[in-house]
Assembly symmetry: C2
Homo-oligomer: 185 residues x 2
């Protein structure tokens, strides 16, 4: 399981640190983030929860309801937190997909402030590297290149640039916030 992997399994585990939830709740919660991250279908969500339970990373509280399937509220266990921590602390792999970064960003509140900053800085470095490669490619390719490819390249370049700008902004915000909090304002 190389770092920077998308892995809904760990992401779900992470969501449970914020609060205990049922599978249904998780799906609902993920809907609002679906653009960035996507939400898994029930057909993969429920089995994932089952294996997390079987592996002792979560516990269930079964809340019965009359003549309806009972709600099953999952909570993360100590070992679960351990495993999650390890996953989070892996340095991101090169070329990690945006999704993977977004997942970790959502779980950011579980990081130390320093950890969060490091995460964002890692991402910045990766996007910068990619941006440089794209610019290089753009220089190399001449007039005769296919329209579609040129457009795709520009597209990637524009998105990478926008991401860089955003990342720089929040890095400075976070550093500020941290300075204020340690200074005690």
């Amino acid at each position: 399981m190389p770092a920077g992997t998308v892995s809904f399994r760990h992401f779900i585990l992470g969501l449970l640190t914020q609060q205990p939830m049922s599978g249904y709740d998780i799906k609902h919660f993920l809907k609002s983030l679906s653009w960035l991250i996507g939400s898994p279908s029930f057909g993969s969500l429920y089995p994932t929860l089952h294996t997390l339970l079987k592996d002792g990373l979560v516990t269930v509280e079964v809340v019965p309801r009359e003549s309806k399937p009972p709600r099953k509220i999952y909570s993360i266990t100590g070992t679960g937190q351990q495993v999650l921590k390890e996953w989070i602390n892996q340095p991101a792999t090169a070329n990690a997909p945006l999704k993977a970064f977004a997942m970790r960003l959502v779980l950011a509140s579980n990081f130390s402030s320093a950890g969060l900053i490091e995460l964002v800085q890692q991402r910045r470095a990766q996007v910068a590297a990619h941006h440089a490669i794209l610019e290089q490619t753009a220089k190399t390719m001449e007039e005769e290149t296919d329209l579609g490819q040129r457009l795709a390249l520009e597209y990637g370049l524009a998105l990478a640039f926008a991401e860089l700008v955003w990342l720089d902004n929040i890095i400075s915000d976070l550093i500020h916030a941290k300075a204020n909090s340690t200074t005690g304002s």
Copy 2:
């Protein structure tokens, strides 16, 4: 096979309209677009080519090389072009991933100019819709919301906005270019 699907199968088929290539060539070509689209591993690329062949959508020319595995150059067939056209002309599904759009964009040169513009406009509409939803969500959520979620939301918002700007730019470029070409400059 719902529209807007990522489907390397069709994308590969599309690349072969630009020029006949071997599996190895395709992989190499895709490397430069890997950020946006990713490139499939050989373990899926070669089998895909085999099924394309079996289905009569491509043909192979086997170029033997002394004491080395022969190169296999694949070309798209008439039926292949037919199938590709159908795939391309499907309207994009709602919430189609960026990847899917990028793929179609790369194949853009096979579209009519009008088709290309329509593709980009479809994307614009989708991103705009998504952007609106995110803004709505941002309004709804109050101070007490978790930092990670707030960051993720801002992140999505920033990226969506950047994409909108870019899309608007090329839409107007394309419309200009089209006007010039039909006017005959």
